[in-house]
Amino acid sequence: MMIHWMSLVFMASEECGERLQPVYLHKQQLMTLVQTGFFFGNTTLFLIQGLYLIVCIAYAAAMTWMLFLLVDSLFGMRVTKDDEMVGLDLAQHHEAAYTVLE
């Protein structure tokens, strides 16, 4: 049983290492991966996923930072202190969710 399982993992790494495609393309291939538990046997994929994660974090952070500063300098991102005390419902939308007095 153990040997059988190991060979499946090996097959998965061999088969999928370089050519692994995203799920949208290869349903059958993905099923093979599901059945063989490739997460425990594919270092290349693990590294690629790591790169993907790091690149996305860096890009999203840098881009958000720039866009925020851009909009903030042009229009101001934050409401005035008075508006914040009153609450955005009244200050920004001129309505209230709950009636305070009948």
Binding site: P22, L30, Q49, L53, I57, T64, W65, E84, L88, H93
Partner: protein, 311 residues
Amino acid sequence: MDSGDTGWVLVSAILVFIMTPGVAFFYGGMARRKNILSILMQCFIIACLISLQWVLYGYSLSFGPDTGHGIIGNLDWVGLRSVGLQPNPDYAGTIPHLAFMIFQAMFAIITPALIVGAFAERIKFSSFVIFTLLWATFVYDPIAHWVWATGGWLRNMGALDFAGGIVVHVSSGVSALVIAILIGKRLGYSKQSFAPHNLPLTVLGGALLWFGWFGFKAGSALGAGEIAAHAFVTTNIAAAAAGLTWALIEWQQHGAPTMLGMVTGAVVGLVSITPACGFVGVLSAIAIWRRSAAYFSCLAVCCIKRTESGI
């Protein structure tokens, strides 16, 4: 063309759509009573705005033919030109291309809505609208292109993202953190109470999220088959295990399990299963997401204390 697959993807698109109101109520209930409508409004205006952005040019930037370096799609599909009823075999060979497009539109909508918590109760609405449009165009669309579109550079390398765990959750989470740091704490933070004003609304939001997440994950199989069933089961298991774990931890640490803690735990479980729900085994799902619940509970407390991300 497969009618079963088409039916399931369209139903999944509906389920993913309901997650945006779900987020609105989930966050809204945690805000103070004077800000609940602003949060609902922000989420709903995102649904309007990004629906149009997606059809006009967002879908083309994300999934359109690559410009050559795997960075961004070109403008061939602007206004859904050549996105029709015939399947696009590059993305989903058994459903109309339009069905794939609208399913993806729901992802593009929910992602900026997830950020709303970071600037809750203190952002100017007009600036928020402009920022959201820019964010969808310059952050979401390129990242989606990199990993999901034909020709995307990460997809070419073989990167996997089953249902957008990184495209959706990591990109919005990181951006939320950056915004929370930049916009600063709410007025009077740590001097007055910021208790959630309406917990039943938060629980309702959590319920809608759990409900919609089945479409988010099982729909990402883009067909009514084995992977959909697998993702469906791991999704439910992850939410259940994380919700239970959070409640137990709270019980032990604070003497009572709270509804807020339980529903937060369930949502954390749903978030963490996303990238892998098509791959992992059911029992691993329980083990991994029991641990992630414990981890996230510590992380959340640290983050909120440090940067005061509104919610």
